[in-house]
Amino acid sequence: MFFRLGDIFEEVSMKGLFDIVGPVMIGPSSSHTAGAARLGLMALKILGEPVVKAEILLHGSFAKTYRGHGTDKALLAGIMGFEPEDDRIRNAIDIAKERKLEFSFDTVDLMDAHPNTAILKLTGESGKCTTIEGSSIGGGNIVINRIDAFEVHLTGQYPALVVVQKDKPGLINKITGVLALYEINVAYMRVFRQKRGQEAMMILETDEDLTDDVLKACRVASGVITAFAIPAI
């Protein structure tokens, strides 16, 4: 388990006015439609380039009711970069076909995963592939639970810096040093690894947007394999 201050504050802090009256969205369901669109959008931002192929697996309530809620359309719409309030969501399947985006939907049993969970296997126009697992947790809010081999926790509420690095001492210091230099404040930070001493990933959710200069400075730090930014959605 990851200890996260935000988890504690989320329990006691109140929603904002526009969480209650709002958001503007395409129906019929904030979790099965608006949240699904945000999951697709977030997956697109993580891939970082236009998608040419999407294999989508649906679990739980998503698997049972996706046709009635338009979850499939919303996910595809998000993958094509449409916002949850974009009324092209309704025609997303046709639009994807027009754009020659190859896609498939299937159901999957992920055991005790959140009932509204999807796995998106995306291929970008450069041939880059990534597999993302995420859940729509209510009110249009989402959590990305997995990026490729890494278990993560990413909400899309903040810009995020993702660094894949060798699991060795001192790297966190280097990266936070870069952020300090560019006066970027860290809201949440998590470090994940597969095995001790192998590849590890850190995700830093920040208050400020992450510029190319920041990314370049992170990439040249020794031990860093790659660093990229995911904008807030």
Partner: protein, 290 residues
């Protein structure tokens, strides 16, 4: 630093500052999210614009939903509204609320208020009130801030999600929000706002969330019509000087406790109530092919 944990706190803040609940919560939001009152006004005015568009579309839209379960009822009500027992304004509100909910069901654009399943109630009631009172856009937008504040407190002390609290959490919360907004739009006091919220929610306590096939359609679409009217009655009672014996925050506490004790089968699982009637099960089978 503005802080509140209850509707009573909001009423006291408004009374002590000789202002409205909306005025208090806009300052509160400014402190919390660093958005100026002007920026907030713009977002809420856009929400109102989308609400109005969804009503206009709703009362003319004949399209059936993806499942085929709903569609076309708002048009029927709109055509009938001059002939009804309850009067044209009331039936127009019912038509608007059903219409917005039908727009939601056909994947149209709506404002979640507080949820997509309850999205027709506040817009329909507020539109009916604005037509009756001749409210300005500013008064309407301010009333939506008050509605939102009520929802913030409910979400904090109970729930606005059917999966946690049953339909009382969605349509019940929307009724409270709408009733409070309508009192403010008629120039009622913050105390009357609180009373209207109490009356509206009190009379929807325990409402099951048992949608057929798990879709936001049956009974949700027509229920939006009923509850919009319900919220207007609650506002009228409060404006007439009727009090609630049980204070508003106690009502919200009751809603929270009832929500927790409701069986899972009637909390948006489609495993009980209307969803598992003979007809409900047959429809689900027809829609999902199993």
């Amino acid at each position: 630093m503005i802080s509140f944990n209850s509707i009573a706190d909001l009423i006291k803040l408004a009374e002590d500052n000789n202002t409205t609940i909306s005025d208090i919560v806009v300052k509160w939001e400014e402190e919390n999210s660093q958005t100026s009152p002007q920026q907030q006004y713009e977002v809420m005015a856009r929400n109102w614009e989308v609400m109005q568009e969804s009503i206009e579309k709703g009362i003319t839209n004949q399209q059936k939903s993806l499942s085929g379960l709903t569609g076309g009822d708002a048009v029927k009500l709109e055509a009938y509204k001059g002939k009804g027992y309850t009067g044209e304004a009331v039936l127009a509100a019912a038509a608007s609320a059903v219409g917005v909910s039908e727009v939601n069901a056909v994947m149209g654009r709506i404002v979640a208020c507080p949820t997509a399943g309850s999205c027709g109630i506040v817009p329909a009631a507020v539109k009916a009130a604005a037509e009756k009172n001749g409210n300005t856009e500013e008064e309407i937008v301010n009333a939506l801030f008050t509605a939102s504040a009520i929802g913030v407190v409910i979400e904090h002390n109970a729930s606005i999600a059917g999966a946690y609290g049953g339909c009382q959490a969605e349509c019940g919360s929307a009724a409270g929000m709408a009733a409070g907004a309508l009192v403010q739009m008629a120039g009622g006091t913050p105390e009357m706002v609180g009373t209207a919220v109490a009356l509206a929610i009190k009379n929807l306590l325990g409402l099951a969330c048992d949608p057929v096939a798990g879709l936001v359609e049956v009974p949700c679409v027509k229920r939006n019509g009923f509850v919009a009217v319900h919220s207007m009655v609650a506002a009228d009672m409060a404006l007439a000087g009727v009090k609630s014996v049980i204070p508003v925050d106690d009502v919200i506490d009751a809603m929270n406790r009832i929500g927790k004790s409701l069986p899972r089968a009637v909390k948006e699982t489609a495993e009980g109530g209307l969803a598992t009637t003979k007809t409900g099960l047959e429809l689900a089978k027809k829609i999902f092919g199993r």
